[in-house]
């Protein structure tokens, strides 16, 4: 089949990612509060974000600083001089008849994001990063096809957006997904973005197959959607080419329900947007802001990965996974304060992460239910052989599902391992009370040892380690 490798050089993909700077408190050009997600429609709006005549936009300084922060973290070149423009088109989600965006003087040019593919590390290069305002949100009663009209909520209108445009350098839907995942991680490290909020990241994807026209798929609203939309679109274009037909240059819409792309038959070209400098806003010289922002850049995933390895002596396999989520890395570091870091890394990555995933939770939940100090205590018991591996896992599960006190759980469930002296005492008892088995063993019936091990297991209700017990018994019998 043609799907044997994930890399297909003839497939060319570029992405335009719209990212809400949703950790800010107010919109891009007005003081309306951004936390609208739980609220009634049209309750976070004012004359500016409703586009009422005479209302004047004023730029949110923190939004520009957040945008610069992102540009720096993505290794882009922040431009010394940047300007807002009007992008003119009519659509019900735009109350003004234009969107305030950026055109020939964007905030930043270039940059890259490093992803890890099966073929090794790859730099996904960026064309540009610019600022713009989010439009409002349209909904339809019933479905888009049966509804007679749309309902418009302008709460989202004016939310600060970044548009991050990649070069057409990706060659598979999977690479596109890896890029988006990495971008999300970086944005969350910067504390400018909460990806869990609805509509926080929306993607337009350009895809073409060498020899065919470029197709733009508009407004895909989930990561899974991007991969599926691209897979469908690549298959569709390949089919056309195989049948000797042309792939037309066009814009398509992704239907998330049916997993197909549908032609929008829109012929709007760039010049039709009639961009011109927004006369109600003044230009921005970035030098001063850039200096302010430079000091606030946090440690980024790659730096953290190297530091974790150096500081804690943990392997790259663990460090690589830990930095995928800043909260997980923080959790690990707190556990590592109290217990052998290598032990902590393997339990956090291999066990706790899996148990959280299984429950559809992340490390924020772990902070709530199983605090790093509690987890460290549990691992200390394990290291001191006071609890078995199986026992640790059991406590983790109980803590995540019900909470409670670690010591209390171990005691009430009888999970404390039996001290070695106790095992030795029980072994002696087993030998004293079972002369026949002892005689059998000494007479060459090695299987008689199992009977003695069984005696100890029974006495400890299965909490002794059978292999270790057999070892002790053998030694005693052969003395």
């Amino acid at each position: 089949m043609g799907y044997a490798t994930s890399m297909e050089p003839d497939v060319i993909i570029g992405l335009e990612v719209h990212v809400q700077l949703n950790k800010l408190k107010t919109k891009l050009f007005c003081s309306c509060p951004l936390d609208y997600h739980e609220d009634e429609p049209n309750t976070h709006v004012c004359p500016v974000c409703l586009g009422l005549p005479g209302a004047m936009p004023v730029v949110n300084k923190e939004a520009v600083k957040a945008a610069i922060k992102v540009a720096l973290a993505l290794h882009a070149e922040v431009q010394p001089f940047t300007v807002f423009d009007r992008k003119n088109y009519f659509y019900p989600d735009l109350p003004k008849g234009f969107q305030i965006s950026q055109y020939d003087r964007p905030l930043a040019l270039g940059g890259y994001v490093t992803i890890e593919t099966e073929e090794g590390e790859k730099k996904i290069t960026l064309k540009r990063i610019h600022m713009e305002e989010d439009p409002g949100k349209l909904t339809y009663k019933g479905s888009i096809t049966t509804a007679k009209y749309c309902l418009i909520d302008y709460n989202r209108s004016g939310v600060p957006l970044l548009e991050i445009v990649t070069e057409p350098v990706m060659h598979s839907p999977k690479e596109a997904r890896l890029f988006l995942n990495k971008l999300r991680i970086i944005l969350e490290y910067l504390d400018v973005f909460d990806g869990s909020l609805e509509g926080a990241m929306r993607v337009d994807a350009n895809v073409s197959i060498r020899g065919g026209g470029r197709v733009e798929i508009k407004n895909i609203s989930s990561f899974k959607g991007v991969e599926r939309a691209l897979s469908y679109e690549i298959a569709r274009q390949k089919n056309l080419l195989r049948m000797g037909r042309k792939v037309e240059r066009e814009t398509r819409h992704f239907d998330e329900v049916n997993n197909i792309t549908v032609s929008l038959r829109s012929k709007e070209e760039e010049q039709d947007y009639r961009y011109f400098p927004e006369p109600d806003l003044v230009p921005i010289y970035t030098a001063e802001l850039l200096e302010e922002v430079k000091g606030t850049l946090p440690e980024m995933p790659e730096e953290k990965r190297e530091r974790l390895k150096a500081q804690y002596g943990i392997g790259d396999n663990f460090a690589k996974v830990l930095v995928l989520d800043k909260v997980m890395a923080d959790y690990f570091e707190e556990v590592a304060k109290h217990v052998d870091p290598k032990l902590a890394a393997s339990w956090v990555v291999d066990v706790l992460r899996g148990e959280l995933n299984y429950r559809g939770k992340d490390f924020r939940f772990a902070y709530e239910m199983l605090k790093p100090e509690e987890f460290a205590k549990l691992l200390r018991y394990f290291r001191e052989e006071r609890i078995t591996e199986k026992g640790v896992v059991e406590v983790i599960r109980i803590k995540l599902d019900h909470g409670g006190d670690v010591d209390e759980i171990i005691r009430s469930r009888g999970l404390f391992a039996i001290p070695k002296e106790e095992i030795e005492r029980l072994c002696r008892e087993a030998i004293e009370k079972n002369p026949k088995a002892v005689a059998d063993y000494k007479g060459g019936k090695k299987k008689a040892l199992d009977f003695l091990v069984g005696y100890v297991m029974k006495a400890t209700r299965g909490r002794a380690n059978p292999a270790e017990t057999a070892q002790i018994l053998k030694k005693m019998l052969e003395e």
Binding site: L24, T26, C30, P41, N42, T43, H44, V45, P92, R265
Partner: protein, 94 residues
């Protein structure tokens, strides 16, 4: 040269319907307007475009939430409203 098609295209972008005689009227006016732009041909190419006619730059607002409008006021002037939403036309492109 401004063609009839140019005028109709621009009218479409502005969502304005023109009668035939209006198309011709605008075609002539567009042509005259564009002639003014010939002046720009005399400007040397290394001149920076003017983004603003005054000297202001870096005018900012702090990220401090203010009051939004009460919804009665927001929807007051809208002809078509439903459940706190504005009602708008369904746009099926094409």
């Amino acid at each position: 040269m401004v063609t009839k098609e140019d005028v109709i295209h621009v009218a479409n972008l502005a969502k304005i319907e023109l009668r035939d005689d209006e198309v011709e009227k605008f075609r002539e006016e567009f042509e005259k307007i564009l002639e003014y732009f010939d002046v720009l041909d005399e400007v040397p190419e290394d001149v920076e475009p003017t983004y603003q006619v005054h000297d202001l730059s870096n005018v900012f607002r702090e990220d401090v939430p203010g009051e939004s409008l009460p919804r009665e006021l927001v929807l007051m002037n809208a002809k078509h409203v439903e459940d706190g939403y504005f009602k708008g036309p369904k746009i099926m492109e094409g």
